[in-house]
Structure formats: structure tokens, C-alpha cells
């Protein structure tokens, strides 16, 4: 006899009703869905079994028996399979994702130095390359998702922090981060349309999750140091070299033997303190944190310091209204040191190497000493001769509200801001430094104020009809940027007492300006799921940007991706070992508008002033050429992937292949300078990246108290410039030897260009080169230059092993790059023997007499012909690095209970402990040109990555 059964389905954690849950009678077609309040009503007989299910929750079954009410609390499915991943404008269960999304969870960097996000993400996701071009504490990082795709536009991904897009990641506090999703392919990034061409990095910060308030305190202290020193000539050897160059001086004045590397490199202390409290009560979620980080540089005077404060709040006001806010306030400061510059330009690293040991640090009168032959001051004048300070105060956050109009239909409005005020103070000592004495001191004060807001409104709909599940999203976005800057410079100071510009008498610079940009967009997404087997995601975004011409302001960015969860097909249902097998494919278009604002207009600059009649008259100059057809750089990407999970997810494996083609590049194409312009921004050219990514995670061994988990990934990317309208571009002017990077159709971005070194003529000691006809010449012409290397690796990889036994944990994370070349321009400077710079000890093998057979030429003052940019300076930059090794210990529960703590973990982490490389410089992970698209892998006295060791603790109560 059938009867009516009623009940409510709720979420077990929150007690909130679950609308749309499925209630079915097992083995029948009889089924209903719960209503908006989670209530249902269904008829069944006492021998029937009720099945209550909802996506993402563990299914429950009950024998009906004689009961007529079943109130069911469903628990969220804890399995990784159902992991919720933040995607653009929403979340998706991992199993439903059809695009290529990399995920980094906070556990991956809990025990790492908290200084910047880049080094924490490095190696964690396949296809995501983190470029740390300098080891300075103040250095930022660049991320390349699936290769470099633009030439003069930016190739950096879009960063979105809790829904607020940003480009500045330096002030982010890693310890506030819950998870990072990296949207790699066009189909997952397309919802960001014009911002998505280089991938999107979605950063989600922590929220409260437990009824009981959780206090967390974490701290570390550490030390970082340069892990390698280079051999330079000692005082006597330097004197011999100078004498051979024909330089004489009164050597009795220069009797020191200073080890400049020892003087300038230091064991730098870092410290970090973070405190947070979080919880979830009566529909209120909160997370409040404060922290402080200080990092000294391994190079004297470099420093970084950060204070941060964060509040994340949300409240379920009624069952149809939710409001929330995320607020992040940061004070970030750093002291920079000049690298990537020769000693005569104040470069500290090349100063350390090229300053002869024969001099001390200070003269008797307190001024800095100089090279005996030219007034190149010792590196202390760069580190100590000026006060330099950058400080940034930043407020980043949003407020949002969600309305549930009717069941299944939700409206969300989000307003976010990023307000940034920074200033740079500089004061050059008027007495101690040579330039300071010439100018009587320099004081500078530069400020920038950046204002950004975003307002997005989205409507989302989620419904299940039997086997069909639909999620739809539509919305609008408006974004506005405003930049303001001012700069002041005065010279001629009476003393070093007052360091602000007002104390100087001579105005050199007094400047201010403003600019704006705006974007407007509409977006839509449809996710369709049939029987949990066939998945489809379609995105569309239409974007308008103020940067483009009236003819081409708007661009359309569609994408579609499909997934087939093969493991849910009946023919695989009985394969117990198989947890999941899913095939994914997607294609889509995204855009790039990352160029200067007002780019399409013929702008006229001011400040071209000139004195006529004894006073400066205002002058203007044509600054740019108009291009009313300027439009979006478009990126089209095909992605095919496979996810495989075996043995209850003990083994999970993903492979993705992609072809990403960027067309209509926003190329600041060089013009003949005869036109009066050096370049004009145009939509020309095509760059393609294609590659393969493999990711493997395993629970390698689990036995009793012992667990061993492994994660590995390897990425292959091939970059090719396919079209450059027949032009060739050159970039990367370094060490006074011209450009070393070539951009040519058919070659990769990051191709090295230069002369081919033949050898040293035993008769003359001069270098002969191989010309374009394969013949040797002492005087090669510009046309004899050719491709001499490639900075792109064949592949990059990482391997992480986490071992835990009882309360101990050991994490060993290796990361490497294989097959990339480095142009070691430091050696051009340090083996060139053209002037009075100190040199590497390799020049002890220099040619000195006819008949000497060596690969180091003779000394040749003032002439670069024996040290032209050639393949002699191209080195293999492959490396394998013990990126992080952590040993941790959790204090035992029995002890913790006594002191009323929940967890208490102590750990020690070493970063860059061992680096295996053939590269001869300080460090292989450098680039003198930072995150440049075109010039990669150049080392020119670049601040190296350091070895860091920290001792830390995390405790919660």
C-alpha cells in the first residue's frame, strides 16, 4: 500500500535547505525534486527504498518501512572528485570542468617564505611558468601561462582577487590565500574576454568555515644568502692585467685586497608574523587577519617590508539575501638595489665583480673609493650612497550582495575597488658620492595614485530536469581605471641633513599628469550536463575598451568546451579500480587589450619646452601616430585533455594538449626613425604556442602511520613567431654590444642573435669570427650575425614528495628547466679586457705572446672587437633545483590538549638548497630584462636567486 512521504533535505554543515535535491524511489521512474525550502513529497510503499541525492553531496538511501517523514541532512562529498574549484564568476565541481584549470591550494605554500606569490606557485601547475627574473626582495614575478603570446603587449595573465581584477601582485599576502585557480585555456578564460588572452589567475582568500572560532598564529625567522660566488682577479693579478694594458698608476696608493663579494653579500634575516581568526555562526562567515613580513636582501641594503590587514565577511541576512565584503589593506615598502647595469652605471652586482680588490671602501675623508683609473666608485656607493625607499599603501576589496528572487534564480551584484597610492623617495648624498658632489645632492619625490573600480552584475540560474542539468549565467561588467602621477626633483643641497627635495635649491623636475581607461562588457555562460556523462560549457563575452579606435572598440569572445565522463558509462561502471575517466575538448577566443591607454589616438606631448627670450616657452611634440582601426589582439586556443583517476583517487593523472594562436598582435612595430617616430602600435603578426602538459598525483604508499604522496608535472611548450609582416625586430641591447635578441618569422620569441665566435688567433691574440659564408674574419659586419641560441626550455618540470610518519612530515620539492640557453652578458663585461674593470680569473689564460694557444684573447683597451656579442657567451641554462625542502613536526595531541591548542607545528624549510646546473654565473634563474616577451634569459649582473632557510611554526587554537 502506497503512502505519502514528506520531509526536508538540508545541508548537514549549515542546516540550510537544499532546493532541487533528487528524491527517487529506487529501481523506479518515480522521482521528485525538493522545492525552494528543501521540502518534498513523494508516494512510496513500505518495501521501497528512497534515494536522496544532490550533486556534490553523498547520496543517502532509506528503507521506507512504516515512517512517513524523512528529514535528511546531506553531507558534502569530501572526495577530491567533488572538489569545488573557483572559476570565472562562479564555482564548478572539479568533475564538471571541461577546460584546462590548474589548481594550487594553500597547503602547497604554508611552510614556505611568505614573501611573494610567484615563488609559491612556481612548479605547482603544469603549463604555468613563473619567471623570477631577479632574486631581489623587491622584485616581482611574471607568470606565463602556456608560453609568451604577445610581442609588445603584456603577456602577463589577469589576476583576479575575490572577484577584483588586478595586475599588481607584490602586496598580496600569501597566507591569506585559500586557493589559486589558473585558467589556462580559452574555454575557461573566455568569460574574462578581453583580459583572458594570457590566462587568468583566480585568487580566493580564506573564509570562516567552522562553528567554533579558529585562531591561527604562524611565524618564521630565516636567513637568505647568495649561494655561489665567482672568482675574480686578486689585487696582484689585477695590477698585472692593467700593466699589460699599458696602464700605470701610483700603486702604492692601492694596497688593499678587498673581497667585494664578501663585503656586499650578506646573510639576510627575514621574519614573518601572521595572526588570524575565522569562523561561521548564524549565517555569518568571518575571517580577519593581520600580518607583518620583513625580508632583508642578500645584497647589502636591499629590503622588503609588508604590513597587511584583511577582513572577509559575509552574512545570510534572510533566506533570499546574502551580503558580504572582502577588504584588504596593505602597506608595502622596499629598498631596491640597481642590478642589470655595468659598474659605471651604478650596477651593484657588476660593481661587486668589476671593482678591483686593490682599493678599500672609504677614502680618508669619508668619500667612497673609486677604480684607480676611472672614477667608477666601489659598490658601497650604490648601496649606501643614496637613500631609496618605495612605499605603497593599497586598499583592495569588494562588497557584494546576492538575491535569490525565486528558486533557482540568483542575482549577484559586486562592486570592487583597488586603490593604490605609492611614493618613491630618493636622496643622493651630496658629499660621499661622486655624482652627489657634482650635483650637490639630489632629492626626488615621486608619487602615483591608481584608482580602479569594477561593477559587475550577474544573474545565474541552476536547474535540474531529470537527467538534464543546466546552469546559466548572464551579466554585465564595467571597469574604470584612473592613474595620476607626480614627480619632483631638486638638486643643490647644503647638507645631507634634510633629504626631502624642499631643501635643494635647483628644480630639475616638477611634473604631474593623469590618464584614464574604461572597459564595458556583457557576458554569458551555459553549462549543460546530461546524465553526469556528457558535459558542455559555452561562454560568450562582448568587450568594449576605451583604448581602441572608434571603428573597432568592441570585440566578441566566444568559446565552447565539451567533456565526456567515460567512467560513468555503463560499460565501465563495474571497473572498480577506475574512479574517473574524463575526456575534455574546448575551443575559444580571448583577447588582449594590455596596451597603453589612448593607444589609437595621435597624441601630442607637452614638456618640449625651450627658452626663448630668457624664459622657457611651452613646447609640444607629436608623440604617436593615430590608428583608428586599432583593435583587440585575439588569441584562439584549442585544448584537448584527459583526466584519469584510479584506486579511489590514489592515482590521478591529467594530460592536456593545446594550440594557442595569437593574431592581430598589438605590436608596437618599429618605424623607420626618419619618420620622426620610433614605433607605431599596429595589429600585425601572429605568435603560436603549442604544447603538452602532464600532471600526476599519487598516494604512493600508505601503510599504518606512514604516508607518501607524490606529485609531478612536466610541460612542453613550443613558441613560434609565425607572421611579422616580413619584418625582423631586434631587442635586448646589452653590455654596449648591441641587441642580442631576434624576433623573426619561424623562430621563437627569446631567440639569441649575434656573431659566431671562431677562436683566438695564436699569432695576434685577436678573436676571429665566422662570417655568413662560413669563413673566418677579424672584422665581421652586422650581416654576419646569426641565430646563436634560444632561451626557451625544451621542457620544465617539477617533482614533489610529501612523506609523513606519525607527527613528522618531510616535503621535498624539486623544480627544473631543461634545454634553455642563457646569454651571459656578465662575462662580456668580465672577460672583455677593454678597460680598467676587474675581470674573472678566466682571463689569466689570456693570449700574451705570439704562439699562445688559448680561447681568451689579448687585452685590447677601448675596443670591443674581441668581445662582440657572440655564441661564446651563450651557455646552457638548464637546471634542477631543490626548490623547497621542509621538515615539520606536529606536537602530540596529548600535549596540545594540556595547553589548549588544536595544532602546533614546527618546521624548517630550505629553499634553493641545491642547484644542479652547468651555468657559470651566479644563478640560472635570471633575466636582466625582467618579464620581457622578447628578451629572455640574459644575465647582466642580475641579482641572483638566493638560498633561504626559515624556521617556523604554525599554531591554531
Amino acid at each position: 500500500q502506497e503512502k505519502e512521504i514528506t520531509g526536508t533535505v538540508t545541508e548537514s554543515a549549515s542546516g540550510m535547505p537544499i532546493p532541487g535535491a533528487n528524491v527517487t524511489v529506487k529501481y523506479t521512474a518515480n522521482g521528485v525534486a525538493t522545492d525552494f525550502d528543501g521540502k518534498y513529497s513523494i508516494t512510496a510503499s513500505p518495501t521501497d527504498t528512497l534515494v536522496i541525492s544532490y550533486i556534490g553531496f553523498t547520496t543517502q538511501e532509506f528503507l521506507v518501512g512504516n515512517k512517513t517523514t524523512f528529514n535528511v541532512a546531506l553531507a558534502e562529498n569530501a572526495q577530491a572528485l567533488s572538489e569545488v574549484i573557483v572559476v570565472g564568476y562562479g564555482t564548478q565541481k572539479r568533475e564538471d570542468i571541461t577546460g584546462a584549470v590548474g589548481l594550487v591550494k594553500s597547503e602547497a605554500f604554508d611552510e614556505r617564505p611568505n614573501t611573494d606569490l610567484g615563488s609559491l606557485v612556481q612548479g605547482q601547475a603544469a603549463g604555468v611558468k613563473v619567471i623570477k627574473s631577479s632574486g631581489k626582495p623587491s622584485a616581482g614575478f611574471n607568470i606565463r601561462v602556456r608560453g609568451t603570446s604577445s610581442i609588445t603587449g603584456s603577456s602577463d595573465p589577469l589576476y583576479v582577487i575575490d572577484g577584483v581584477p588586478t595586475t599588481d601582485t607584490r602586496s598580496l599576502n600569501p597566507s591569506d590565500i585559500e586557493s589559486i585557480s589558473i585558467l589556462k585555456d580559452a574555454s575557461s578564460a573566455a568569460i574574462y574576454g578581453a583580459g583572458g588572452a594570457n590566462g587568468v589567475v583566480l585568487i580566493t582568500t580564506k573564509k570562516g568555515s567552522s562553528e567554533k572560532p579558529v585562531f591561527q598564529f604562524s611565524s618564521y625567522v630565516g636567513v637568505s644568502s647568495v649561494w655561489k660566488t665567482l672568482d675574480v682577479l686578486n689585487a696582484e693579478q689585477y695590477r698585472d692585467l692593467m700593466t699589460e694594458m699599458g696602464k700605470t698608476t701610483d700603486w702604492s696608493q692601492y694596497t688593499n685586497n678587498t673581497d667585494w663579494q664578501n663585503e656586499i653579500f650578506q646573510d639576510a634575516i627575514s621574519q614573518n608574523y601572521q595572526l588570524s581568526v575565522s569562523g561561521k555562526q548564524n549565517g555569518t562567515q568571518y575571517y580577519i587577519s593581520g600580518g607583518y613580513v620583513n625580508q632583508e636582501g642578500a645584497v647589502r641594503s636591499a629590503e622588503m617590508e609588508k604590513y597587511n590587514f584583511k577582513t572577509n565577511l559575509s552574512k545570510e541576512v534572510t533566506d533570499w539575501l546574502k551580503i558580504g565584503t572582502n577588504i584588504n589593506y596593505t602597506v608595502y615598502g622596499d629598498v631596491d638595489v640597481t642590478d642589470n647595469a655595468a659598474v659605471n652605471q651604478g650596477g651593484v652586482l657588476l660593481g661587486v665583480l668589476a671593482t678591483p680588490p686593490n682599493i678599500g671602501i672609504y677614502n680618508e675623508n669619508g668619500t667612497f673609493t673609486s677604480n684607480p683609473f676611472q672614477d667608477w666608485e666601489n659598490p658601497y656607493s650604490s648601496t649606501d650612497g643614496s637613500d631609496r625607499g618605495y612605499k605603497n599603501q593599497r586598499l583592495l576589496g569588494n562588497v557584494y550582495t546576492e538575491f535569490r528572487f525565486v528558486k533557482d534564480l540568483k542575482f549577484k551584484s559586486n562592486f570592487g575597488i583597488d586603490y593604490n597610492a605609492d611614493r618613491y623617495d630618493y636622496f643622493l648624498d651630496p658629499f660621499r658620492t661622486s655624482y652627489g658632489r657634482a650635483t650637490n645632492g639630489i632629492g626626488r619625490y615621486n608619487t602615483n595614485i591608481n584608482n580602479y573600480f569594477i561593477w559587475d552584475n550577474t544573474l545565474s540560474y541552476k536547474k535540474q530536469f531529470g537527467d538534464h542539468k543546466i546552469e546559466a549565467l548572464a551579466g554585465t561588467v564595467y571597469q574604470k581605471y584612473r592613474w595620476e602621477y607626480s614627480s619632483i626633483e631638486r638638486r643643490n643641497f647644503a647638507s645631507a641633513e634634510i633629504t626631502t627635495p624642499g631643501a635643494g635649491s635647483e628644480i630639475i623636475t616638477a611634473n604631474a599628469g593623469k590618464s584614464e581607461a574604461a572597459n564595458a562588457s556583457i557576458l554569458a555562460r551555459l553549462v549543460y550536463d546530461y546524465k553526469n556523462k556528457y558535459l558542455l560549457t559555452a561562454n560568450f563575452r562582448r568587450d568594449g575598451s576605451s583604448k581602441f579606435g572608434p571603428n573597432k572598440k568592441w570585440g566578441n569572445f566566444p568559446s565552447v568546451s565539451v567533456g565526456w565522463r567515460i567512467s560513468n558509462e555503463s560499460f565501465l561502471e563495474n571497473v572498480e579500480e577506475l574512479t574517473e575517466l574524463k575526456l575534455r575538448a574546448g575551443y575559444g577566443a580571448v583577447g588582449n587589450d594590455n596596451i597603453a591607454t589612448y593607444a589609437y589616438l595621435a597624441r601630442v606631448g607637452s614638456g618640449g619646452n625651450y627658452p626663448i627670450g630668457g624664459t622657457a616657452q611651452p613646447g609640444t611634440y607629436p608623440a604617436t601616430i593615430a590608428n583608428y582601426d586599432l583593435q583587440w589582439e585575439s588569441s584562439n586556443q584549442l585544448n584537448v585533455g584527459l583526466d584519469l583517476r584510479l584506486f579511489d583517487s590514489k592515482i590521478s593523472f591529467s594530460v592536456d594538449g593545446y594550440v594557442k594562436t595569437n593574431d592581430n598582435l598589438l605590436l608596437d612595430a618599429p618605424l623607420p626613425t626618419g619618420t620622426g617616430f620610433s614605433s607605431a602600435i599596429q595589429n600585425v603578426g601572429r605568435v603560436q604556442n603549442k604544447g603538452l602538459e602532464f600532471q600526476l598525483n599519487t598516494t604512493t604508499l600508505q601503510k599504518g602511520d606512514f604516508t607518501w604522496e607524490t606529485s609531478a608535472n612536466i610541460s612542453f611548450n613550443r613558441n613560434e613567431v609565425q607572421d611579422l609582416v616580413g619584418q625582423e625586430l631586434y631587442d635586448g641591447n646589452v653590455a654596449g654590444r648591441g641587441e642580442v635578441s631576434l624576433i623573426r618569422e619561424g623562430e621563437a620569441l627569446g631567440t639569441f642573435y649575434g656573431y659566431v665566435w671562431g677562436g683566438v688567433d695564436p699569432q695576434t691574440g685577436d678573436v676571429y669570427y665566422i662570417d655568413q659564408n662560413g669563413e673566418s674574419t677579424f672584422n665581421p659586419t652586422a650581416d654576419d650575425r646569426t641565430i646563436i641560441g634560444n632561451a626557451n626550455p625544451d621542457f620544465t618540470y617539477s617533482l614533489g614528495n610529501t612523506l609523513s610518519y606519525k607527527n613528522f612530515g618531510l616535503n621535498i620539492f624539486l623544480q627544473g628547466s631543461q634545454g634553455n640557453d642563457i646569454f651571459n652578458a656578465t662575462r662580456v663585461n668580465m672577460e672583455g679586457m677593454i678597460d680598467s674593470k676587474n675581470q674573472f680569473t678566466s682571463v689569466l689564460d689570456r693570449w700574451q705572446n705570439p704562439g699562445d694557444v688559448t680561447d681568451i684573447p689579448r687585452v685590447l683597451e677601448g675596443d670591443i672587437r674581441n668581445s662582440l656579442a657572440s655564441d661564446r657567451y651563450v651557455e646552457d641554462g638548464s637546471y634542477l633545483r631543490f626548490k623547497a625542502v621542509t621538515l615539520s613536526y606536529n606536537l602530540p595531541k596529548t600535549f596540545l590538549e594540556k595547553v589548549k591548542l588544536t595544532t602546533f607545528k614546527l618546521y624548517v624549510t630550505g629553499e634553493n638548497l641545491i642547484t644542479i646546473t652547468d651555468y657559470s654565473g651566479f644563478d640560472p634563474e635570471v633575466n636582466a630584462f625582467g618579464g620581457s616577451n622578447t628578451v629572455q634569459g640574459v644575465d647582466f649582473g642580475t641579482y641572483p636567486q638566493t638560498r633561504n632557510i626559515i624556521f617556523g611554526m604554525n599554531l591554531t587554537f
Partner: protein
């Protein structure tokens, strides 16, 4: 939609940047400003004309400048590229003024419009003269380029005859439009192009062109000398350079500096420690050959105004291979001004034009008149009239004029062009006997025909495939 129509806040847009008189004046000021912002006019003209010649050594520590000194320029030398690019940038600004001025109607008189055009024509001619002297055939951009279309941007080289024809045409256009003076304020009259400046430049151009027209040289030089603007030689040569007498009666046009943010960084590069306040090895070191030239004439007034000797802490491979040697310094700018000197730079001055007149007279067979003309300049410098050896023949007179120009105009950016014009560059350079004390070897400049022109910058050839390199590079 309207929210996306944003226009620059701190910049103008070409469509509305040239509608009023004050705006076109600002555009014209921008053309003059190239004299300050172009590295060529700030300093590199000394490298191109004086260091490349027998007047000065490079000094300093820059291999690219050493290459000028050795007369061994490579197409990839970035200073050559900077010369090309910055001078063409100035030309582009002049082209813009020539194009926009006729359309201006607000707040401007027809007379002033004419003057503005005249000034722009003069400036364009001045810059093309620099280019044609250094590179020979060069592309003639005479319209403002407002599109990136290769048809507009990739012009081939025009022959030097065509370039000179354009220069002469521009200067004649300037001559009809420019006033003798803009009133009584010398700091305006010496800043802006005038009829006198156009005549002076024409005199130099007619002499330098492949087929010189000495009658025209003479006529235009006389037009300057007899100008209502009242140009005259200063009685005290040193006052030209002492920093207290700029915009003087001898000046025809000069680059204006005020110091501070309108300052000239060049002087700091070569003034001695006692003046510059810093102790690094300076650039632009006077040569033995130059010092000997002054001494052989007993020309102390001009020598002392041009060169200052000082004992220095560094070693110099030509003057003293031991510390505390006495080394000469380029001294025609006197105030380092903490990298922001108020010292002006003469673009054209009367003594130069008087010597151009003498040159024309001599070439036209009026050798005795030429001597009289040269003596004006000599007497001002406290020297006696030319002796009979010098005046004995046209060819002897020619050499006397060349030497007089050297002594009068050293460090002012004339020597290399003079040597080329007189057909003496190879002979003079290859007979210089400089000993490099660090090696004990004689320096062989080995100047040949190809060295008379600079290479077309490789960077420009890369951007403009229609350009052909000069022979020998």
C-alpha cells in the same frame, strides 16, 4: 558606450592641438627644443666633428666614442643611430609646423604665420644639412608622416644633390619670410631663426655641396656681414665662451640654456675636476695636434679660451701615462652646472661666416681680398696679419683658411666637415702622429674614402629595407 570615449587628460590630441596661435607657437617651440633634447646637438656634434677629426681624443671610457676617435664607425654604433633618429625627429616636428601653420586662424597674425613658416623652413634645412654632411644621400621626409603605411614611412635615399636642393629651397623660403630681428631683445633674436641665420646657413651650404657655388657663398656671407641685425665680432675672443656674454653681437643663432630643468648636461662631460667638481676621466681631450697648431701660430688667446691644462689623478694614454700628469681639457663651455649648465652652444656665429667669405673670395680668385677677410678674425684674436707665405697662392691661402677655421672654431663642431670640404680629410688624418703611451705605438687612423661618410645605422636599415648602406660598411 559614451563611457568608452575617453580622451587624454594630460596630453593633447592632434585634431585639436594646432588650432590657435599659441598652440602653433608651442609646436614651433617643440622644434627648437630638439636642439636641447637631441643628443647630437647637446654633445655628439663634438664627437662627429672634432673627436673624429684631428682636434680631440675621445677621453672617457666609452668604446662607442673611441670608435669616433679612431674613425672606425660601425653601423651598429648606437651613437650614430641616435644622431640619425634624433635629427630626423626634429625634422618631423618642423614638417608638422609647415603643414599645420597655414590652417591656423585664431589668435595669430598673417605676418607671424609667415615668420613661423620661415623658422620651420630654416630649422628643417639646418637638420638636413647635418644629415647630408654625415651620411651623404639620405631619405627626404618633407611631409609629416601621420600613418604607419610603408609607402609613407620607408622612403629610399635621395641623392645628396636632391637633398642640397631641398635645403637651398627651404632656406630661400625662410629668407623671404624671416625678419632681420624680432625686436631689440637679443635673447629672442639669437634664439629664433632670422634672415641672418638663413643667409649664414646658405653660405655654408653652398660651399659644402658637391658642386660649390662660391658666388652664392660670397653673396650670402656678405648679406650676413652687412645685415641690419648688426652682427659684429666681439673684441675679446674669450667673452664668447666665458658664460657671461651669450646672445652677443657675434652670435647669429645659438642653442639656449638656462640651467636647472633647461640645463645643458654636456659641459660636465669634459670640464676638469677643478670646474666640474668630480674626478672621473673626462671626455673630449684636446689632441697634441691641436695644441701644436695653436702653439705654431703663437695663438695664446684662442688656445687659452679653448683648452685648460690641469694635473689629474687618472692616467691619459696620450698626455701622461702616470698619475698627476698635466692633461688638457676642452674648455669652450666653462660651467658644469651640476649636469645642468646654462652654457649656450653656437649654431652659427659671425667669425665662421667671415671665414666662409674668405674661402669664397679665395676660390673665386680674390686671394688678396681673402687675406684681408681672414685678418679680421686673426686680429681679433691678437694675431698679426697672414704672412706672405700664406697669401702667396690660392692653394696656400686655402690652407691658411683651413687652419684659421681650426683655431677659431675648435670644439664648435666644424673640423671634420671643413676637412671634407677642403678635400683634406684623408691626407690630414693619415699624417697625424699620435703616440699611444700605454702601448708606445703610433696611432694609425687609416682614413680612407669610405670613412668620409658615416654608415647608415643598421637599426634604420632593419626598419627600412629600402635603404642601402654606404660603401665600405
Amino acid at each position: 558606450e559614451d563611457e568608452l570615449d575617453l580622451y587624454p587628460i594630460s596630453q593633447e590630441v592632434a585634431d585639436n592641438a594646432y588650432s590657435t596661435g599659441t598652440q602653433i607657437e608651442a609646436a614651433l617651440t617643440g622644434v627648437y627644443e630638439s636642439f636641447q633634447s637631441s643628443q647630437y646637438y647637446a654633445w655628439d656634434f663634438v664627437m662627429a666633428e672634432d673627436i673624429r677629426s684631428d682636434n680631440y681624443y675621445a677621453g672617457g671610457d666609452n668604446p662607442e666614442i673611441f670608435a669616433y676617435d679612431r674613425v672606425d664607425l660601425s653601423p651598429t654604433n648606437s651613437r650614430v643611430n641616435a644622431l640619425w633618429a634624433s635629427v630626423y625627429n626634429a625634422i618631423s616636428k618642423a614638417n608638422l609646423v609647415l603643414e599645420k601653420t597655414p590652417e591656423v586662424t585664431e589668435n595669430i597674425t598673417e605676418e607671424r604665420k609667415d615668420q613661423i613658416l620661415g623658422e620651420a623652413y630654416f630649422l628643417r634645412a639646418y637638420h638636413y644639412f647635418v644629415l647630408v654632411k654625415n651620411f651623404g644621400d639620405v631619405p627626404l621626409y618633407i611631409n609629416f608622416v601621420s600613418s604607419a603605411d610603408p609607402a609613407d614611412t620607408r622612403l629610399p635615399r635621395s641623392s645628396k644633390e636632391e637633398v642640397y636642393a631641398q635645403i637651398v629651397s627651404d632656406l630661400n623660403n625662410a629668407l623671404t619670410r624671416l625678419p632681420d630681428t624680432y625686436g631689440s631683445d637679443a635673447s629672442v633674436n639669437k634664439a629664433r631663426a632670422t634672415k641672418g641665420a638663413a643667409n649664414a646657413l646658405l653660405a655654408k651650404v653652398y660651399a659644402q655641396m658637391p658642386t660649390p657655388d662660391y658666388t652664392a657663398v660670397l653673396a650670402h656671407a656678405n648679406a650676413v656681414i652687412n645685415s641690419p641685425a648688426g652682427y659684429s665680432l666681439l673684441s675679446n675672443y674669450d667673452e664668447l665662451f666665458d658664460g657671461n656674454h651669450y646672445n652677443n653681437a657675434e652670435s647669429i643663432i645659438e642653442i639656449q640654456y638656462l640651467g636647472g630643468n633647461e640645463g645643458n648636461w654636456g659641459p660636465q662631460m669634459h670640464l676638469p675636476p677643478s670646474v666640474s667638481g668630480d674626478n672621473w676621466r673626462k671626455f673630449t681631450t684636446p689632441s697634441h695636434d691641436l695644441v701644436d697648431a695653436f702653439d705654431s701660430e703663437g695663438d695664446n688667446i684662442r688656445k687659452n679660451a679653448t683648452i685648460l691644462f690641469e694635473n689629474v689623478s687618472w692616467v691619459d694614454e696620450y698626455w701622461g701615462n702616470a698619475t698627476n700628469s698635466s692633461v688638457p681639457f676642452a674648455y669652450k663651455w666653462r660651467n658644469a652646472g651640476s649636469w645642468a649648465s646654462s652654457d649656450d652652444i653656437y649654431l652659427l656665429r659671425l667669425a665662421d661666416i667671415i671665414l666662409m667669405k674668405a674661402e669664397a673670395q679665395n676660390e673665386l680668385g680674390q686671394t688678396a681680398d681673402a687675406a684681408t677677410t681672414v685678418n679680421l678674425v686673426r686680429n681679433r684674436a691678437g694675431l698679426a696679419n697672414l704672412n706672405s707665405d700664406a697669401t702667396a697662392s690660392q692653394s696656400a691661402m686655402r690652407m691658411a683658411i683651413l687652419k684659421e677655421r681650426r683655431l677659431e672654431l675648435a670644439q664648435e663642431g666644424h673640423r671634420w666637415s671643413d676637412l671634407v670640404r677642403f678635400g683634406m680629410a684623408q691626407e690630414v688624418m693619415n699624417s697625424v702622429d699620435d703616440i699611444d703611451l700605454s702601448t708606445g705605438q703610433s696611432v694609425n687612423y687609416a682614413v680612407d674614402e669610405h670613412d668620409l661618410l658615416m654608415p647608415i645605422p643598421q637599426a634604420e636599415i632593419n626598419r627600412n629595407p629600402n635603404l642601402e648602406q654606404n660603401p665600405g660598411y
